[in-house]
């Protein structure tokens, strides 16, 4: 589409734990972050459940990977688009999600929010603006 750095979007549409998709996506994002790419993550449909705070997986014997989303800023992954309609359909608001921030090196390491709440139409624009879209 444009010259230079390619725009990659990882689309997350599955709930955590019930299937392996959510964890696999996060691992691919972390590995892919080693390359010089303009990475964004999209959370829509059941994917918004991945970001819900206070997850506690002790009793199901599965690793709770939700804290790892908060490390994404260290990997220069700082744009996590969350679809408002998907939240509303599931009875969720922004307050139900964990806070995810990154330190902006170009702005004296100021902490800035990584979560960007968008409408379905805006999410469509985000998707249409990418060089590569990877679905999970």
């Amino acid at each position: 589409m444009t010259d230079g750095v390619k725009k990659f979007l990882y689309v997350n549409r599955k709930a955590p734990y019930g299937t392996i998709y959510a964890l696999e996506s996060l691992e691919v994002v972390l590995i892919g972050a080693a390359f010089d790419l303009d990475v964004s993550l999209a959370f829509l449909d059941d994917g918004v459940f991945q970001l819900v705070k206070s997850q506690d997986t002790k009793e199901i014997g599965v690793k709770n990977f939700s804290p790892t989303f908060r490390a994404l800023g260290d990997y220069e992954v700082t744009k996590l688009y969350v679809e408002k309609e998907s939240l509303a359909e599931r009875g969720l608001t922004a307050e139900d999600l964990q806070e995810i921030t990154y330190e902006d090196e170009d702005d004296d390491y100021a902490e800035k929010p990584s979560l960007i709440f968008v409408s379905r139409a805006e999410m469509a624009d985000v998707m249409g603006d990418q060089d590569v879209v990877l679905s999970f």
Partner: protein, 110 residues
Amino acid sequence: MAYEVDGQEIATDEEGYITNLGEWTPELGAVIAKAEEVDMTDEHWAVVNFLRDYYEEYQIAPAVRVLIKSIKKSMGPEVGNNKYMYELFPYGPAKQACKIAGLPKPTGCV
């Protein structure tokens, strides 16, 4: 293979990473370091402790460049640079330091 601390056997995978993260103690860290032929200094321990704290908070071991960037921020550029980190841990600051810290191999490290 396995490590031994106070007569207790600690199980590992085929590459020498311990399989039960809960079994780690500083004593075990020293035993693993010895097996790796790494002479532990305060700087080595600072890196190991940083890795453990990072894992505790984010549930992953950081990639090498993330580790070096963070060490640079917390301990200064004399320690937080590629060359020095590889002097501390010749087989890779992430790979080898994680092993001594009792953490899994970092994601993306093959």
